[in-house]
């Protein structure tokens, strides 16, 4: 089976006025199915740009990117949108839930764009809320939930289309220690029990400690790639 992510000599540069900024300078990485990898590095190291390219929110300027075996570096905006909706799941630091909208409807959102029939959407969304342990909050609006609960809704939302990869961008950045641990336990459980591939972007070693593999970025290049020996539990 093809690796979930396979990038070779991946480059991304921006024009910033007169200057050119080289955010990625030739990154090579392969992510196998079922991996749980943490991407670390200081700000400006290129880890966020890397996540955007892997998440098909951005396009590389050079290099190849094969997602689940298919070359995706030159797809149109619509084709990338379709893959994002059907094969990728996103979890953001700020949860990014729709305000004044129930948890259930928030979880349904990706399926609306993927064209899943309404009745099916409800069933699946409820099942995913059950999976992250907050099925009882299905009717609650984001402002009626704690940060940890909101992030669980966001994780449920990332799961609904059975994605090949979940991208979590600083998922605990806005949470207290206890909630952070809960969220990381949840991601770990999803990875181990459900075999979901997770790529976590963080600059916190405590959080990265939950991953099985840690990749470190610096100045647009991967400077470290190791198996996490002392994994947190």
């Amino acid at each position: 089976m093809a690796p979930v992510v396979e990038v070779a000599d991946l480059q991304r540069e921006y024009a910033m006025g007169e200057d050119r900024i080289y955010a990625l300078r030739g990154v090579n990485l392969t992510l196998e199915r079922g991996e749980f990898v943490a991407v670390m590095g200081p700000s400006g190291s290129g880890k966020s740009t890397f996540m955007h390219v892997v998440g098909l929110l951005d396009q590389p300027t050079a290099g190849t990117y094969r997602f689940e075996g298919a070359e995706v570096s030159h797809l149109s905006a619509d084709e990338r949108a379709d893959i994002r909706g059907r094969r990728l799941g996103f979890v953001f630091q700020a949860y990014n839930l729709l305000p004044r909208t129930s948890a259930l409807e928030n979880v349904e959102l990706p399926m609306v764009y993927a064209g899943v029939p309404e009745r099916e959407r409800k069933t699946i969304a409820l099942a995913k809320l059950e999976m992250v342990g907050i099925a009882d909050l299905a009717a609650h609006h984001p402002n009626q939930m704690s940060g940890g609960q909101q992030q669980r809704v966001a994780i449920a939302r990332s799961l609904v289309n059975d994605p090949g990869l979940i991208l979590a961008d600083e998922p605990t950045g806005a949470l207290d220690t206890k909630s952070s641990q809960d969220i990381m336990h949840l991601l770990t459980r999803l990875n181990e029990a459900a075999g979901i591939t997770v790529m976590l972007v963080t600059h916190e070693p405590d959080v990265a400690a939950y991953a099985r593999r840690i990749v470190t970025f610096r100045d647009g290049l991967i400077t470290g790639d190791s198996i996490n020996e002392r994994r947190a539990a």
Binding site: D82, L98, T101, E105, L109
Partner: protein, 405 residues
């Protein structure tokens, strides 16, 4: 995404911001309500003018005696009494004339047994019912023989019949006394109701004009000559030829002024209705401007909404929304907003028109095509003013949008 899903999304977004949505709609609501009320009054007025003209008869031309004096000089014999039945007979021979009837009217008391009633006695020709498009509810109308023999026969209007013969007694065959002379009732007219001027048109007794002149007025002249043109297109031509004929018969040469007046009501009606229509269009135009202003309000709020919901747009893109879906969603929001505003406006305008009708007793009518046009125009306003904000939303890059603070 299909249309239903897009509309559902748009509706959900609008409901999330109820107050703002309602306030945004307000411009459209007021605009459409103004259009509907304006049109309702205009159309109502025109309809009632048209109806009162039509109730006077089809293709009607009325010849009346003219003014008696002109700059102090007498221009005719008698007090505006220049028209004779003979004039009528000659007019009837003109091409394009379908029927002519003289009318001789006076108000007097009519007696039947123990009941009496003051009403208008009008002497007319048998063609009168045709000219006025007036049918009979019972009995018969008088014929040429009755006219030739000054027959003492009468046909009663509904009001008179009801007053003289209460309790549903049939008046046919009964005798009524008019100025001491007994007349036999031979028929009763269909009810016509009030005229445009609020006159009870059924408060009348029709008798042969010869009988009226002979037995009631004692004059050789008549009050008016009612002429019916064969078709509406011939009204102007007949008006011309009647004028020429009467000038010749009355030996009027310039610079003398005519001692009669030929008026065709259709022309008056047309002028009235054209004036009404222009005014109506003008007011509707002003109201339409307020619709456009309402549209600008929608654009303004939609632009604010796009900025405010930048992160939401970024998220939607991240979870699989194509630029086109975002575009359609925002466009749908403004269309739904404008259309609902239009519908509320139609309802408000309808209620307003009804209220106005009840308060002022002006007739009002809301034609369906104006309702449809207002709602369609509202939707167009929504599309037009929603397009730019929707394009702004769709053009956002997902990364920038997600990062937006």
């Amino acid at each position: 995404m299909n249309i239903k899903a897009t509309l559902r999304l748009a509706l959900a977004a609008l409901i999330r911001n109820k107050t703002r949505s309602l306030l945004t709609m307000l411009g459209i609501v007021i605009g459409v309500a103004a259009v509907i009320i304006t049109v309702a009054i205009g159309v109502g007025a025109r309809t009632s003018v048209q109806a009162s003209i039509n109730s006077l008869g089809s293709n009607l031309i009325v010849v009346q005696p003219g003014s008696v004096t002109q700059s102090g000089a007498r221009t005719g014999f008698g007090a505006a009494s220049t028209l004779t039945p003979a004039d009528g007979l000659e007019i009837a021979k003109l091409p394009g004339v379908a029927a002519v009837s003289p009318t001789v009217s006076l108000r007097t008391q009519v007696v039947a047994g123990e009941n009496n009633w003051q009403t208008t006695i009008t002497g007319v020709a048998p063609t009168y019912t045709f000219i006025r498009s007036w049918g009979l509810s019972a009995g018969r109308f008088f014929n040429q023989n009755d006219v030739t023999s000054d027959a003492k026969v009468a046909v009663l209007g509904q009001t008179v019949a009801g007053q003289l013969f209460p309790g549903g007694t049939s008046p046919i065959g009964q005798t009524v006394i008019i100025k001491g002379a007994p007349f036999t009732v031979i028929g009763a007219l269909d009810p016509l109701g009030q005229s445009g001027l609020g006159q009870d048109q059924d408060d009348v007794v029709l008798i042969p004009y010869t009988s009226a002149m002979e037995r009631l007025t004692g004059l050789t002249t008549v009050n008016t000559l009612m002429v019916s043109a064969a078709t509406a297109a011939q009204i102007d031509g007949v008006t011309q030829s009647v004028t020429s004929l009467l000038e010749e018969r009355h030996r009027i040469v310039p610079p003398q002024t005519d001692d009669f007046q030929v008026r065709n009501l259709q022309a008056i009606a047309q002028t009235a209705s054209q004036t009404g229509a222009i005014l109506e269009l003008l007011l509707a135009g002003v109201a339409a401007v307020s619709l456009v202003v309402g549209g600008i309000g929608i654009m303004n709020i939609m632009l604010v909404s796009v900025t405010e919901r930048t992160r939401e747009i970024g998220l939607r893109m991240a979870v699989g929304a194509r630029a086109g879906s975002i575009m359609r969603q925002f466009l749908a929001e403004s269309i739904v907003l404008a259309t609902i505003g239009g519908l509320i406006g139609v309802a408000a305008g309808g209620v307003g028109a009804l209220g106005l009708a009840l308060l002022t007793h002006w007739p009002t009518a809301v034609p369906l095509q104006w309702v449809l046009a207002s709602v369609a125009f509202s939707a167009l306003v929504g599309i037009f003013f929603g397009y730019y904000p929707a394009r702004q939303a769709a053009a956002l890059s997902p990364i920038e949008a997600l990062r937006f603070e």
